[in-house]
Amino acid sequence: MPLPRTRGTALRHRLAELRGPDIAAKALDARALAALAANPGCKRRAILDGAGVNKAALASALGSPSVFGQSQFAFTRGNAFEAKVKADGGAELLRLVHEKLDRSAEPPAHARVPELTATGPEGRTARTALALREATETRGEWTLLDHPMLALDVAGSPAFLEPDAVVVHPDGSWTVVEIKSFPMLDGSADPAKVGAAARQAAVYVLALEQIAARLGDSDPAPRVRHRVLLVCPKDFSNLPTASAVDVRKQRAVTARQLARLTRIEDIADTLPAGTCFSPELPAADLTAAVEAVPATYAPECLSACELAFHCRARARASGAVTSLGRSVRAELGGLTTVEGVLSAARGESGDPDDPAVAALRRAARLRAEALGREAETLGNEAEALGHEAEALGTEAVAPCH
């Protein structure tokens, strides 16, 4: 007689089924984390990331391959820089941590660098937790954890994360280190890239806090520092320089988004039985499976999610106004399709007492007046297009003169 399955194992089985037979779960990488922050309300992304589906392979199988790729030049350079930073037992890295974050502590003359290899993400996570416990108990010494593996509970299932490094200070507190290969030029770096790095580091801080809370069952829980260390090349050189980045805000935002995430279990329950996202399935089956979960597409997805081109094609085909940008929605009230908006603007549909519809009609009238057209021709002027260019030059009259 089979043992009654707990809720946890049931979910794990369900997610494995979604992933497809014999396909290993994909860890939540930096891009997935960015997508999480960029679009927390997207159920499609939530279930695919939660189940550890390889979205890049899925997108290719759907016929809308993602465009993310890494140049081998960037890859080589990034790896070389990280190796340089961590060379010599992490001496340079620890010096930077000491200088930027913890000047009152003993300078790191030598540091412990525990071995963290193990089989499988679960094994590595356990190994990391053990190393963290040991390091925290050995007061008065610096410890560098090189590529530890952390587990974070995302919407009811564990997601595996791999920070570049975690440093345990002599006072037992922990610091996340992010090593990036974009330059810090005259002390400042590209704000967009720093922002992305901070959001990523904030997720690691949250994961470390979960581990710290578990370690703290007996002793007071170790402190996870909310200032992370961002290490970048200095100016145009290959020399590392670092800056402390306060991630309290990003941490709070991410924590709130994680808490609000639609529970993966609930999404999984709405899927028809037998749904599977294995890239080996025929495109038609996959399309149906993907369509079974609603997506919340916005143009920001293009830089964060592998599936974005598929979702964009769908959004465009259905005429969704958000494919033009999220901000577009703000002024359109209940109108969600391009044709709906245009017909409301032309006065063919919509309630004139609705403020959004009234504003649209005013906008359409003003625009038509400025272009010297009739408002009713809005969007119905394929034949007039050719003449437009000439007409513009001569007929436009500035109202102010």
Binding site: V67, G69, Q70, S71, Q72, F73, A74, F75, R77, G78, S181, P183, L185, D186, P233, D235, F236, S237, N238, P299, E300, L302, F309, R316, G319, V321, S323, L324, G325, S327, V328, E331, L332, V338, E339, V341, L342, A345, A359, L360, R362, A363, A364, L366, R367, E369, A370, L371, G379, E381, A382, E388, A389, L392, G393, A396, V397, A398, P399, C400
Partner: protein
């Protein structure tokens, strides 16, 4: 995005073509712009891979760095770039006209007019996209602190002559590009997106190929020739092709406008070619006699030629696209006229000012501005932004429509003019003008409004709303009563044409047409301690420290 812009985008979606977002051209385009299409090496901070640059669309200069990590080759590239860009700048530096500038006399402290030179025209740099503008700034930063052997014989790895000078100029162009409405350095995607609304988001508009596809889709016949009647019939499809279509080897048909390259290009084509080049170079260095060296030099030249061909194949489509964009802007939109010319004059002042600083032997722009300079720059940008917004609205009925929709302007017909006079010893005319408008301006009590009268703003004051007569149909229009305040001459009776007449169609704005300068900032020596105190004696900034493995 305003509702009018949103509507334009939706029209574009529905018609499959970009729709006008302006009826006139709001940026100055030089008759002889210098187009610059750079490529950079992925992962490196500003290590150029190559560029197409020049003023002749049929004969661009192709500059290539066969091994981007090699300092010597990079210096050679920058030196060649200086040989193209600096002579171009110099042609504008010599042609001057006399102008006057207000200056404070150091002895009396009074404002006096000083005769100065003003360059008759200024150079214009055009890059494909906003990332290109950033790259110009980065190149400028990487070069302007370099020392040449002449400046400092001790310097390790001296830069070729004129490279630091090019750095100072590129820095100036990059800095000027941050001033709203300036045209010294333009990104083609920004200029096109200012004038046309596409059926995609502003994020996707950053792709030059896709943007052009919406504005001017390739004619159906070209796609028919390709034997593919389905493709490129609408802007939407052409844009999708430009974004994503790849050839059989997985290379994008429309390479990104750069400076970043497509990873597939890096990995499949560029990396092997650079590797062959490196091998040929090592072999040449190891050659034992002249004959062998000649052979291997041949290999090296072949490897270099291959990289040049690769770089040209990725930059040429973008080069052509930039020129196509220029054609579209010139042929489809008339220049807005006086206001654009006025802003261009400010660019000429900016160019002349930097020319004078270089000639006077001043040091390169500092890494960080002092507090007063930074505050001045910020104030100037804010002022120029307000100026640009006002001028674009006055030049372009479509922009004005947006302001009217937002309640910041109103247009209508004059229904009544009643003469009235100010009280006082010398009564001046203060006529009351009633305007019927369908717009809904946000007029507060005694709010000031302005209209353009012969290019100058005439002010009026909001008096109140008049009740519509009982028999008038309720069409949602309002009767606005205004009191005209100025520009009517000195006499008791207003000058002819200075007061609106009945049945005139006029447009008033709630925003001012001309921008006043803000409060004067203290001299740098008087910087308060809250802002870091006086900057102290200026010391020449040291060049960046160099290390063996530096990439730039």
């Amino acid at each position: 995005m305003s509702l009018i812009a949103t509507l334009a985008r939706m029209e574009a979606v529905s018609t499959g073509r970009a729709q006008p977002a302006a009826t006139v051209r709001h940026r100055r385009l030089s008759d002889r712009p210098l187009v610059f299409v750079p490529l950079t090496t992925a992962g490196e901070a500003g290590a150029p891979l190559g560029a197409l640059v020049g003023t002749d669309r049929d004969a661009p200069h192709l500059l290539v760095v066969p091994q981007p990590r090699d300092r010597e080759l990079r210096f050679a590239f920058l030196s060649e770039l200086a040989d193209v860009v600096l002579p171009y700048i110099d042609t504008y530096a010599d042609d001057v006209e006399a102008a006057e500038r207000g200056e404070t006399d150091p002895e009396t402290g009074k404002r006096v007019k000083v005769e100065v030179e003003l360059c008759a025209d200024a150079p214009q740099l055009i890059v494909p996209s906003r990332a290109g503008v950033d790259f110009v700034r980065l190149l400028g930063r990487s070069m302007r602190f370099r020392r040449t052997a002449e400046q400092d014989p001790e310097t390790p790895y001296p830069a070729p002559p004129r490279v630091p000078l090019l750095g100072r100029w590129l820095t100036h162009f990059g800095e000027r590009a941050r001033v709203p409405g300036s045209s010294l350095l333009l990104a083609m995607t920004d200029v096109l997106a200012r004038h046309w609304a596409t059926g995609q988001s502003t994020l996707e508009d950053q792709h030059l190929g896709a943007l052009l596809a919406w504005i001017d889709p390739p004619p159906l016949s070209t796609s028919l020739e390709r034997g593919d009647p389905q493709s490129a019939s609408t802007g939407a499809e052409a844009a999708l092709r430009a974004e994503l279509a790849r050839d059989r080897d997985g290379q994008l048909l429309c390479p990104p406008a750069g400076p970043a390259t497509d990873p597939a290009f890096d990995n499949k084509l560029l990396a092997p070619a650079i590797e062959r080049y490196d091998r040929a170079r090592t072999a040449l260095a190891a050659a034992e006699d002249g004959l062998e060296a000649d052979d291997r030099l041949g290999d090296l030249t072949a490897a270099e030629r291959e990289i040049r061909a690769l770089v040209e194949s990725r930059t040429r489509p973008t080069w052509d696209a930039v020129w196509r964009g220029l054609d579209l802007l010139r042929s489809r939109l008339p220049e807005a006229g006086q206001h654009v010319e006025e802003r261009w004059t400010r660019d000429r002042w900016s160019f002349t000012g930097h020319r004078d600083r270089v000639l006077a032997g001043e040091p390169p722009q500092p890494r960080r501005d002092d507090a007063v300079t930074a505050a001045n720059k910020l104030a100037a940008r804010e002022r120029e932004q307000a100026r640009l917004e006002a001028q674009e609205a006055l030049d372009d009925p479509l922009v004005m429509a947006g302001r009217r929709l937002a309640g910041e302007a109103f247009a209508g017909e004059v229904t009544e003019v009643v003469m009235a006079y100010s009280e006082g010893k010398r009564p001046s005319p203060r006529p009351l003008v009633t305007v019927r408008t369908d717009d809904r301006p946000h007029l507060g009590e005694r709010a000031k409004v302005f209209r353009s009268l012969g290019g100058k703003p005439q002010a009026a004051e909001f008096v109140g709303y008049e009740k519509a007569p009982e028999d008038a149909p309720d069409d949602g229009s309002a009767l606005v009563v205004l009191r005209v305040l100025d520009k009517m001459g000195r006499g008791k009776e207003p000058e002819e044409g200075s007061v609106p007449e009945k049945d005139d169609l006029i447009c008033f704005t709630l925003f001012e047409h001309e921008q006043r300068g803000g409060a004067k900032l203290p001299d740098p020596e008087q910087t308060p301690w809250t802002h870091g105190g006086p900057p102290g004696e200026q010391v020449p900034e040291a060049a960046d420290a160099l290390t063996q493995e530096d990439v730039l």
